[in-house]
Symmetry: C2
Subunit: 440 residues, 2 copies
């Protein structure tokens, strides 16, 4: 059995690779060489990437692609996407082209509020705490001035600081619940720094307060919330139903009806809603990653929003009214275009250049559009030819690459699998048969 | 304004870069050079990565690190993690070390069921449909035999096929609801292929059925569900409370109490639960990506599970009973260790080698442990020194790298910012002051 190691993080990158290799991969030279094959030649650039996290051994590659032809609020974009799943970029490009000819995407930012909380326990009288808090609130703001000065210059700051009584959920539990605006920053560091200052000020003032004498305040933690139901963007496509004529031989009304049914099902059935929204996130995360934002934060906020009314439901909506088909999304997105990786990761900088250096609000709009486009493409495929047609084509190519098929072998097998379902085993069989025939 | 383009996907990679560069980045040569700087020297290996998706221009780098010293069911692991967020790998390694000395992690797979559905509308009598379905069910299985034969050899297959009446949610709405076991595959392709066959068989048999004469069946779509509440793994750490003695000067009971309070708050307050679970996903996604799985599928399933009882809540739990502190997670994870990228992406193969070529069940266990470890480390920090201490240290390093600080400048500024909060602006100020002083 392998032995534990002390001081691993202090080893050089080479020494770390040596230890992992000796301990877990039988010290095979080709496995060590593999990690190094993915290093950049430029050592200082590689070092930059190494220092983003701890114990870095190599660079994990996600394909970076681009989906062109997105018309958003009358402006044309190509959207960078970093994603490993085949058909996501193709689907985005297909939806972009479809709506390019039908007026494009329209967007609207409905709010940009971020939330943070100091969670604490207090065993005294609630009214006394409320009186105490009235005096505390301006002190909290004053004590944070060094942090908020710069944010205020950029149009952000602390919008609201409230005391919340949460005794009905958990005995003695209260919160300082604060609302922030963070301009073009995602704002996590700013918000957390403010909250930790709030906690210090709260404890200091409580200790000196005669009002709270005899009772105790115990701060458990101070942290921003990734639940941002007031930091929401809406993106819409719409067109006269006549312009949907002829998709897979259907009338415009038939196609619109199928799309609306697909959305109704996602609203009625959580099993479907989860997958429906997962498809939306294929588009959203690909842009979130390419622009250096934190996709776990976005995912958590989005899915909690999808569940906010008590049943997990669809993030997109569809209607047919007065001959107009409309399809839209409302989604919470806390994003930044300054700070974090945005100023550090060269490919993130590239993505932001391609998007014309958007503000955080503009990036919210672009990301929401990518999500809506993805959902449109997925439902379009699902209600017509089925999802597997496109997927299996890519799946087939992946298997053929893995088998080392030549271009001419690929061509023949692609033809062969137009008529049958490609599973790993029947592709391997067909490939082996073809090879055997050609070497006879 | 930029012009739209037709046939973009058919261009060569170089021609795609040319077009994006001319259209969106003023054709600046350094921007084109940047994309190419991230290409692999080995052209056939680069081509492999290019073909994972469509319109690939370059490789987006996520740092690939490793967190050592995970003792899971008496076996020692180093866990590969691909993630851009600083402190995630460090936190994992810290939690691993902490529990290495206290018995390690214990895990249990509670289920591996996957779900898929054919969604359809039917306007006839429900009882007639039920009779029809009784005859249909064996036909559905028979028609899928070509798909299921191989899966059955590997221990998987179709466990159950049910008709579900969803009229109470949406008029005329019914489902074929099927349960699958997919062995070591995540199973999306297998499940979707079976479901599309179900849909074909359903339509064919319905058209010939005298029982259903006069009514119509309209299939809307056939697709797996990423909601997998019966594909769940549990991971636990526990130790006598005395072994928690001395953390930041607290008694074992005090520390345990704080940890339990932090979990109680995440159970009572969705604003906190979302961020609490987001931290868990930092660990989970990092391993999911490194092992070639689909993190959007995992994210959607996990957050919907967190919301399954009507209120979004914590995925982890904590207790102190009979002097034993326990901390555990129950989380749905549909993962694969064969198929998809697992056989294709060289760094995914490396990750699976380091993890000793796990089965899908073993990977579920390892991934759940990574999530639990991350949550333990986050709560540990939150209830003691606060989250910002660790974050800001990395944040400070990132700003200093961006400014091009020398090692000795870094050293001095790290000392300086031990006493004050590092914001972007005050770090820049301090750096400029230091530079100015040294060049006087």
């Amino acid at each position: 059995m392998p032995q534990a190691i002390a001081g691993f993080s202090k080893l050089s990158k080479d020494a770390k690779i040596e230890w992992v290799s000796k301990t877990f991969t039988q010290d095979k030279p080709e496995i060590k060489a593999l990690l190094k094959q993915y290093w950049l030649e430029d050592q200082s650039l590689q070092q930059l990437h190494d220092e983003f996290i701890e114990n870095t051994l190599s660079n994990f590659f996600l394909p970076l692609g681009v989906a062109p032809n997105f018309l958003i609020n009358e402006q044309l974009y190509a959207i960078p996407m970093a994603i490993e799943e085949s058909s996501v970029v193709a689907a985005a490009a297909k939806a972009a082209k479809f709506w390019l000819d039908r007026g494009g995407f329209k967007t609207e930012v409905l709010g940009t509020e971020k939330i943070g909380q100091v969670h604490f326990f207090y065993d005294g009288d609630t009214e006394k705490l409320q009186h105490f808090f009235e005096k505390l609130e301006p002190i909290l703001r004053k004590d944070c001035a060094a942090l908020t000065d710069n944010m205020e210059k950029r149009g952000g700051g602390i919008s609201k600081i409230e005391l919340r009584d949460k005794n009905s959920d958990l005995q003695h539990y209260y919160q300082i619940h604060a609302v922030f605006e963070t301009a073009n920053a995602m704002g996590a560091n700013f918000i957390n720094s403010c909250l930790e200052q709030f906690a210090k000020s709260l404890q200091r003032e409580a200790a000196q307060s005669s009002l709270l004498a005899g009772s105790s305040i115990e701060v458990v933690m101070s942290i921003l919330s990734n639940y941002v139901p007031q930091c929401v963007v809406k993106a819409t496509v719409s067109c006269p139903v006549a312009e949907l004529e002829g998709i897979e031989g259907a009338s415009g009304e038939e196609f619109a009806k199928k799309m609306i049914q697909a959305v109704q099902i996602a609203k009625a059935e959580p099993h479907r809603a989860v997958t429906h929204n997962k498809g939306i996130m294929n588009g959203i995360d690909a842009v979130v990653i390419a622009t250096g934002n934190d996709f776990r934060a976005v995912e958590a906020g989005v899915h909690a929003y999808a569940a906010k009314d008590g049943m997990y439901s669809s993030l997109t909506h569809a209607s047919l009214q007065d001959g107009i088909f409309s399809f839209w999304i409302e989604v919470p997105l806390a994003l930044g275009t300054v700070g974090g990786l945005t100023n550090l990761h060269p490919l993130v900088k590239w993505s932001l250049e391609v998007l014309q250096r958007p503000s955080a609000k503009q990036l919210m709009e672009i990301v929401a559009v990518a999500g809506l486009a993805q959902n449109f493409a997925a439902l379009h495929a699902l209600v017509t030819s089925g999802i597997q047609k496109g997927h299996m084509k890519m799946h087939l190519m992946n298997i053929l690459n893995q088998l080392g098929a030549t271009p001419s072998e690929k061509e023949q097998l692609i033809q062969e699998f137009k008529q049958q379902t490609a599973t790993h085993s029947n592709v391997v069989q067909a490939f082996e048969k073809l090879r055997a025939a050609s070497t006879k």
